[in-house]
Amino acid sequence: MITVDVLLFASYADSAGATSVRVSVADDAHVSDVVQAVRVAKPSVTLPARPLVAVNHRYAAADATVAAGDEVALIPPVAGG
């Protein structure tokens, strides 16, 4: 197992009541596994079926792998400008 700190922003952070959550996932976990672990760790978090995820500051696909030490963030629909 590896431990991953997942960053939350905007409506995701509000619904979770936290700006980050620490989860444990398998060594060969995918992005989708990390998202599922966040749902379990923070049941109040309101996420779409397939939220956007960034790994090390880049958008990542649901089947991308996550390694120990990666910076993972759930990205709500962006609204800059």
Partner: protein, 175 residues
């Protein structure tokens, strides 16, 4: 070429001066400003929140891509964070080029890319004291603490496709 997230008022004159060069016959400046109404609700101001390291990375990538597409290194993008009252500029984009078509199309392309890709969120403060997170392209906000964003990922993908279709890089047309 320069991009930045900034915590203080954007100095528009300085940005224009920064992209101005003797070979450029055109400077295009886009300012996004805080509007007093959204979805029929009166707005007092907007709080901008960024995932700073990724936002800076995406803004720099957009500037590099724009430089290649529109053929100019004279590009500055600044985005504010924190609380902004009505009328203040939240984003400034300046693009200079020998020809106006590239300068204007470049600025338009950059703002559309920025709105689609850069991880920045806005919490609108309404005159009735409530606040909501705005979701770009959805046409309505998410009530703070009670999200209902099912399906917006697909909506966002469709929107990005539309933007790509509308905003292809220009041919090397004369200005």
């Amino acid at each position: 070429m320069r991009t930045a997230l900034v915590g203080q008022r954007i100095d528009v004159a300085a940005i224009v001066a920064e992209v101005t060069a003797p070979e450029n016959g055109a400077v295009s400046l886009f300012l996004g400003t805080v509007r007093n109404v959204n979805d029929g609700r009166a707005v007092d101001g907007i709080e901008y929140n960024a995932y700073a390291p990724m936002a800076e990375r995406e803004m720099a990538a957009i500037a590099r891509e724009a430089s290649e597409r529109f053929g100019t290194p004279h590009i500055v993008i600044e985005h504010r964070t924190g609380y902004l009252p009505l009328g203040e500029a939240s984003v400034a984009i300046a693009v200079a080029h020998a020809r106006r078509a590239n300068a204007m199309d470049g600025a338009r392309w950059i703002i559309e890319q920025l709105k689609a890709r850069v991880p920045i969120w806005k919490l609108e403060h309404y005159t009735d004291g409530t606040r909501e997170w705005v979701e770009h392209g959805k046409g309505q906000g998410v009530r703070r603490g009670r999200g209902r964003e099912q399906g917006v990922g697909r909506e966002r993908e469709r929107e990005r496709e539309r933007e790509r279709g509308v905003l292809d890089a220009p041919e090397s047309s004369d200005a």
